[in-house]
């Protein structure tokens, strides 16, 4: 069974990769976005596949590179000991081997890709403890809006989640495309206006992580990094309660102000007036965000595209 072979190999390589990047080493831990320091099951599985695939390929790449350098060195014109064989230009056996080596590697990796794509489909459920948390993420120009429809709250550029619970993301965009990505929690996914994409993640350890927009979206793009705060399941309801006490309200009007082009250095929080706000955005009942013409925010250092400058 090829499946068993792959599992066997994966187990072995997993041990190896753990050895190659141990948690304790400063290079592999403590950095808020290190792909090799996963903080959730999706990221852990992704990075395992990533590391395993590298090792599978290194098994043939390293010998090949050594052979290239060795042949190039040994058969240099000045080496009188090397045997000159100008007629060695075809060999059925060699041909068979050289087609077989990459083919076998690809069959193995193809298995990894097939199984991995199905197990780690972004929309696949990621069971966790407690009830799942629904989060609706909207990429704005140029900030991230996170709506918690069940908790009736919303935040900008800061995502707070309980550890251990399944996080069900629904994502869309107010204007141009973007990509939602929390490196240490795993899989990224596109956000597109008028469409909803789905992503399920889970954060296992309390702590502060970083997320970012991973698809260029205009002048304010670099400022689309956001905080991810993983709190204990017990303190999550407290956070929700505190947040819900805010005076700021997110409704269609305040959303329309929020989606205008501009960067947001703070971490605003809102009470959510209508839990269907996300649907209104995703179905374009609220029209897509305006481009640079409608900017009123003259205080920003570099306003967006002015017509022909």
């Amino acid at each position: 069974m090829p499946g068993t072979v792959i599992t066997q190999l994966r187990l072995r390589l997993e041990g190896f990769s753990r050895y190659a990047c141990p948690r304790g080493l400063p290079i592999a831990s403590g950095l808020p976005m290190n792909l090799l320091d996963p903080q959730g099951p999706v990221a852990a599985a992704n990075s395992t596949i990533l590391v395993d695939s590298v090792f599978i390929m290194l098994a043939i790449v390293v010998p090949t590179i050594i052979a290239i350098l060795a042949f190039a060195f040994w058969f240099r014109a000045s080496n009188t000991k090397a045997r000159f064989q100008p007629d060695f230009v075809y060999s059925g056996r060699v041909e068979m081997v050289v087609w077989a080596i990459p083919a076998l590697t690809v069959i193995l990796l193809g298995g990894v890709a097939w199984i991995g794509s199905h197990k780690l489909d972004p929309a696949a459920p990621v069971p966790g403890t407690g009830s799942p948390v629904r989060i609706q993420a909207v990429s704005l120009d140029w900030k991230w809006l996170f709506i918690y429809p069940d908790q009736r709250i919303a935040t900008v550029n800061s995502l707070t989640v309980p550890a251990g619970a399944e996080l069900n993301f629904q994502l869309t965009s107010s204007s141009v495309m973007n990509v939602f990505f929390i490196p240490q929690l795993g899989s990224m996914i596109y956000t597109m206006n008028g469409m909803v994409t789905r992503l399920n993640l889970r954060a296992d350890n309390e702590g502060k992580l970083k997320g970012l927009g991973a698809h260029f979206s205009g002048d304010g793009f670099p400022d689309m990094m956001f905080d991810v705060v993983v709190v204990s399941p017990l303190s999550f309801p407290d956070w929700v309660a505190t947040t819900a006490k805010t005076d700021a309200v997110l409704n269609e009007d305040s959303y329309k102000k929020l989606m205008q082009q501009g960067i947001e250095k703070g971490r605003p929080i809102y009470r959510l007036e209508d839990p269907r706000l996300f649907d209104l955005i995703a179905t374009q009942h609220i029209p897509p965000g305006p481009g640079p013409e409608l900017i009123s925010d003259a205080g920003r250092p570099h306003s967006g595209g002015v017509d022909a400058r």
Binding site: N46, L50, A67, I68, A103, S117, P122, M225, G291, P301
Partner: protein, 666 residues
């Protein structure tokens, strides 16, 4: 009267583009004045600008690519410096400028460096390797070149008049749509690619026809040099893929100019369609670039190992397999768009399958070296450097073809490092190898080896110092196209990458020095034999530089490595040559069609960008009229009399006999 164009289009408030543009303008003016004052203008006009000789056009393509390489390289240096200093600060480039730079860098490097470089080499070499006198459509060839030059000119014009796109080199909507990019930047991008795209398409048609229909006696398909095979594969891809690019950009332009809704957010437009279409062109494009490089390395490795190419038929099969499969993998550029596990897995596996024929190629070059007598001239250094570097790029490429790995690496600096690894390590190294290898053929003297080797070592090490840090930054979660960042862990890697860029730049300077030194010492480096590397294919059978008609007689090919066989046969027949009977040769006449057509296309493109409608009509009529005048021409060929052919060929034969007799005495 002038559409959207007014004085505000000139960036008086931005010193960097203004000074850069000013310096370039002064340099161009100085060269022009020098040309006119010294009286070189008629020579340039008759011998180069209106030339339909495939060798001259090839040289002009490579010259264009080299100049644009300096432009694209300057962009790269600016980006590396910006990312090295823009930690917790805005750096020295504001976003609207930085975003133009990375968009221009990608556009220029792919369309106006890599493409003209490989098309130039194919133009220069393929007819010679096939043993023929010209390409199938010589005047069309000239048109193709000049339209490519038009595109390059428009891109550079955007530096000082208006702006370039700030959307990335593929201008994804909706960002590139009118709502989010109301300026002329995207229009500069789209029109320059539309015009140069026509040029590329005609070059592709021309080279496919040349390989399929114009081969000398006995040159059947399985005797063609590997470079001809990869040329065929690459140009088949051009013919199949470039119309997709043209159609996609046409739809984007309809959105922008006439209020269509192909790719807008509103009214049923679909951005995912753009992603699919642009990559349906974009993925074959990378093979359009790298296949000719594979061909160059096949020629170089075989020549400098003193052996025929190992597993020739296997190589042909691998080339054509890559050609076909490269059309079936485009979706791997957006695994993260939520297509579903089956689709992702199938495209992931298809992408990996390409690694099989590519791996076979690496092994066949390896076994070509096995049992050889390898001379490490500069082209061979590039070839070995390529093999090592490209394998690493291949590894990371297959890695991002695994969907779950791509879910972590998509759009990251790791990806940036990957495609630079294959494009620099594959295409650019290949272009440099080809440049060193065929330069003596084009100009009649070799390039200085010392400077060439220095250039190689600086470029090779500079490449690793620049791009290994980018791999690491990608593993630390860094995404591409960041004008500034606040993550401390990324900073050291960006600084190392900037240092690597400095080393790479020294490599480029060495390459320029090599050219200068070689031109100065050209008499010492003169190649009188036409065969400086002990070559194996037909381009070495004629003099360096070849006469305008390439060959006095169509060579008679009896096997693979046609010229090698001839050399062996000549030695065995103890050099008895009787004077052959020469005939008149008909060659195509020079034609200004390409230049004039591109002149009007430039006017039209510029007018379209700035909405100057009367000028659009003027340019359109001019370009069409040029075509009509050419179509109604009466004389398109001239005759080189037999006596002249004989005089030229006798000199060549004499040199060649000396060469063979010298080889015989060793």
């Amino acid at each position: 009267m002038l559409g959207k164009l007014d004085w505000s289009a000139i960036p008086f408030d931005q010193p960097i583009p203004l000074i850069a543009g000013g310096v370039v303008l002064v340099a161009i003016l100085a060269v022009l004045i020098w040309v006119v004052v010294k009286g070189h203008l008629p020579y340039l006009w008759h011998e180069w600008i209106t030339s339909v000789d495939h060798k001259r056009i090839g040289v002009m393509y490579i010259l264009l690519a080299s100049v644009m390489l300096l432009r694209g390289g300057s962009d790269a240096i600016m980006m590396r410096i910006q990312q090295a200093i823009a930690y917790h600060s805005q750096g020295y480039l504001p976003p609207e400028h930085y975003n133009q730079i990375f968009s221009a860098h990608g556009t220029i490097m792919i369309f106006f460096v890599a493409m003209p470089f490989v098309i130039g080499l194919m133009n220069l070499v393929v007819p010679l390797q096939l043993g023929v006198r010209d390409v199938a459509f010589p005047t069309l060839n000239s048109v193709g070149f000049w339209l490519t030059a038009t595109g390059a000119l428009l891109v550079n014009l955007s530096l000082v008049i208006g702006e370039f796109a700030r959307t990335g080199w593929l201008a994804f909507p909706p960002l590139s749509g009118l709502s989010y990019s109301p300026g002329v930047g995207v229009d500069y991008y789209a029109w320059s690619l539309q015009i140069s795209g026509v040029g590329t398409l005609v070059a592709g048609i021309n080279l496919v026809t040349t390989v399929l229909k114009l081969r000398t006696k006995g040159m059947n398909y399985l005797r063609m040099p590997m470079f001809c095979w990869t040329t065929l594969a690459s140009n088949l891809l051009i013919v199949a893929a470039f119309p997709i690019l043209t159609a996609t950009l046409a739809m984007l332009l309809l959105d922008r100019y006439l209020g269509f809704h192909f790719f807008t957010n509103e009214a049923g437009g679909n951005v995912m369609m753009f992603m699919n279409l642009i990559w349906a062109w974009g993925h074959p494009e990378v093979y359009i670039l790298v296949l000719p490089a594979f061909g160059i390395f096949s020629e170089v490795v075989s020549t400098f190992s003193g052996k025929a190419l190992f597993g020739y038929r296997s190589m042909v099969l691998a080339t054509m397999a890559i050609c076909v499969v490269s059309f079936m993998v485009w979706l791997h550029h957006f695994f993260t768009m939520g297509a579903g596990p089956d689709v992702n897995a199938i495209f992931g596996i298809a992408s990996m399958i390409i690694a099989v024929p590519t791996g076979v190629k690496i092994y066949n070059w390896l076994f070509t070296m096995y049992g050889g007598r390898i001379r490490f001239s500069t082209p061979m250094l590039w070839a070995v450097g390529f093999m090592v570097t490209f394998i690493i790029g291949g590894l990371t490429g297959v890695l991002v073809a695994v969907p779950p790995a791509d879910f972590m690496l998509h759009n990251s600096m790791f990806l940036v490092a990957h495609f630079h690894n294959v494009i620099i390590g594959g295409v650019l190294f290949g272009a440099f190898a080809g440049f060193e290898y065929w330069f003596p053929k084009a100009f009649g003297f070799r390039l200085d080896e010392r400077w060439g080797k220095l250039a190689f070592w600086f470029t090779f090490t500079g490449f690793y110092i620049t791009f290994v840090p980018l791999y690491v930054a990608g593993m630390l979660g860094m995404t591409r196209r960041l004008q500034h960042y606040d993550v401390a862990e990324w900073r050291p890697w960006m600084i190392v990458a900037a240092i690597g860029m400095a080393v790479l730049s020294i490599g480029v300077i060495c390459q320029i020095m090599q050219l200068v030194v070689s031109i100065r010492n050209r008499e010492a480096l003169r190649d009188r034999t036409g065969d400086p590397w002990d070559g194996r294919s037909l381009e070495w059978a004629t003099s360096s530089p070849p006469p305008v008609f390439n060959f006095a007689f169509h060579p008679d090919v009896r096997g693979e490595d046609a010229y090698w066989d001839m050399k062996i046969a000549a030695q065995e027949q103890s050099l008895e040559h009787e004077e052959p009977e020469y005939h008149d040769i008909e060659m195509p006449r020079n034609s200004p069609t390409g230049f004039v057509c591109a002149f009007f296309a430039t006017i039209m493109g510029f007018a379209l960008i700035w909405h100057i409608w009367w000028m659009v009509i003027l340019g359109g009529i001019g370009a069409f009229a040029t075509f009509v005048v050419f179509a109604w021409r009466d004389h398109d060929e001239y005759v080189i009399p037999a006596a002249e052919v004989a005089a030229i060929d006798r000199v060549n034969l004499e040199e060649r006999r000396n060469l063979v007799s010298m080889a015989g005495t060793i």
